[in-house]
């Protein structure tokens, strides 16, 4: 059988196929949502004073007289080439979102680069000294901080560092003209906020992943052999917990997506999240569609990554009962 020669490869391929399928379903939902828009799409572009003739002409120009399935196919085809259509404000959607996407990616990448090692390190520390002071303090504070709204964290951070201490600018409105150092300084507060929000989730999950491995018989055995606790955690528990931890990290990066929307609005950071909120307020449907597609693709991608990582690290999952 061909399957048995490369079980992992075929699994990864089938997962990729499933991911692609859910992306197609999501794009279908996003596309068909427009047809529920009260009133006609063309009338919405032209505004209230449009004559019926103008609306009809606009519908022809946009291809709205075509059958639904054909429109979906052509929308998907042009979206795949990077052309996301025109926004209601008259600019191409790519011009509206493109530079903002770069800003959001920078923000997310820097946050992830700091958050991942820190969360794993602290999670290991909690598991190592389980029930001691550091574990109790971190467990309680993280439980508290996962239930705090993102904008609360953002404003507290802003209050302390920008208003009271006057160390950093409170608004993160970066522009292209600024040099990178200046941009970086303005990004410190949003990054700090995102870190606080995401760290708690990651740390709790890392701790739980290691603790569930700590209940295994081979960990007991290592302890009975008289190995020091630090060695038991690092040599026995951690390698076996890598899979769950990796998937936890990927899921939390997906969680970053909804956090980034709120935090961009608080700090007036010119990113995709802010663009989406502006588009929702103006009902600028093409921009909303594009933003939703980007966020959904990132979300599906991270969840897919989590899925694959957990199976690769634990081949037993290849054979579900």
């Amino acid at each position: 059988m061909n399957r048995t020669t490369h079980p992992i490869l075929s699994m990864v391929l089938s997962r990729l196929g499933l991911g692609l399928l859910s992306l197609v379903i999501v794009s279908l939902v996003i596309f068909s949502a427009v047809s529920f828009l009260p009133g006609s799409y063309a009338a919405a572009i032209l505004g209230q004073n449009a004559t019926p003739e103008a609306v009809a002409a606009m519908e022809r120009q946009l291809g709205l007289d075509q059958p639904w399935a054909l429109r979906y196919a052509s929308w998907l085809a042009t979206a795949a080439t990077g052309d996301l259509g025109m926004s209601f404000s008259g600019r191409p959607v790519v011009d509206v979102i493109g530079p903002r996407l770069a800003n959001t990616l920078t923000l997310a990448a820097i946050t992830a680069a700091i958050a991942v090692p820190l969360a794993i390190g602290l999670g290991i520390a909690c598991a190592r000294w389980r029930g001691r002071l550091i574990d109790r303090v971190l467990s309680t504070t993280t439980l508290a901080s996962i239930s705090v709204p993102e904008f609360f964290v953002a404003y507290v951070v802003m209050m302390i560092f920008a208003v009271k201490l006057q160390l950093l600018p409170s608004m993160a409105g970066i522009r292209n003209g600024m040099d990178f150092g200046e941009q970086l300084i303005r990004m410190i507060l949003p990054i700090l906020t995102l870190l606080l929000v995401i760290l708690a989730h990651m740390l709790r999950n890392t701790r739980a992943a290691i603790l569930s491995v700590m209940a295994s018989p081979y960990v007991e055995m290592a302890r009975l052999k008289g190995e020091p606790e630090a060695r038991v955690v690092m040599r026995q528990a951690l390698p076996n917990a890598i899979g769950p931890i990796a998937s936890v990290v990927a899921i939390n990066l997906a969680y970053l997506i909804s956090g980034v929307v709120v935090i961009e609005v608080v700090f007036v950071y010119p990113g995709v999240g802010q663009a989406m909120i502006d588009a929702v307020r103006n009902r600028d449907v093409p921009v909303i569609q594009a933003c939703a597609l980007i966020f959904a693709a990132a979300y599906i991608g991270f969840n897919l990554l989590a899925d694959i990582l957990s199976i690769v690290s634990n081949p037993r999952l290849l054979h579900p009962r």
Binding site: I25, V29, F151, S170, A254, V280, V285
Partner: protein, 292 residues
Amino acid sequence: MNDSIATPSAIPGRLTRARRALAGAPLTARFGMVVVLAYVIVAVFAPFIAPYGEVEVVSRVPFDAWSAAHPLGTDQLGRDFLSRLIFGARNSISIALATTLISFALGCLTGMFSALAGGIVDQVLSRFVDALMSVPDLIFILMILSIFGSSVPNLILIIAVLTSTRFFRISRAAALNITSLDFVEAAKVRGETLLWIAVHEVFPNILPLMLSELGMRFCFIFLSIAALSFLGVGIQPPTAEWGSMVRDNAALFSMGDITPLIPAASIAFLAIAVNFVVDWLLSRASGLQDEV
């Protein structure tokens, strides 16, 4: 926790067992319960506690400082901040609670139905839920609200449907373990309807698990609605809501005034309290407290 499952053989009454469970609760859980109770009292008796009306303009000075007449000052339109905070408790909590209960009923019923029916029905329902869950909630909500407009019924309905996917997953998985048991088989043989079996045989057995999920989801919905209102697309003015109060008064931050942080802190405080209680319920349901 188990007090809602009536077993005839249990010698101590429900009340006794509930009291015992409470006595064994950790400090964090007791603290959480007291806080939740306080919020509920404020929400229920809001019109009697608040010094002024919800949308009553009481001062000509917007953003007035704290004073004896207006303990927390006034907001951007000169309305009493404390009164709006108190009415906000009522609006925020009742809307979140209604959403949670609708999604709980919807998710549990479909989940148990899916598990009991099995076969192609189960497959179709499960795949549909998978598809719904593969879009980030906030993005989905934003998209749908931008199309249908944000009114309170729309908000409740959208969030309830999206959240019911979580209840569906858990209740289906829990119900699958129950459906193979003898008493469910017996009920099927007796010719009971699926709905009757779901409500009378399966539901009482998965309730402990679902209750902790209920608390967790309440927090999640509560925070989502606050975030949406903060973004200006959730509950619309003039209704007092904690998320939009933060947004409307955010100008005060730059002057170093912490008043707009109070509604945000109120949100956080309630969510933390509920989470403390849920954490305790969860560890009781999974029997973890014996192990630690």
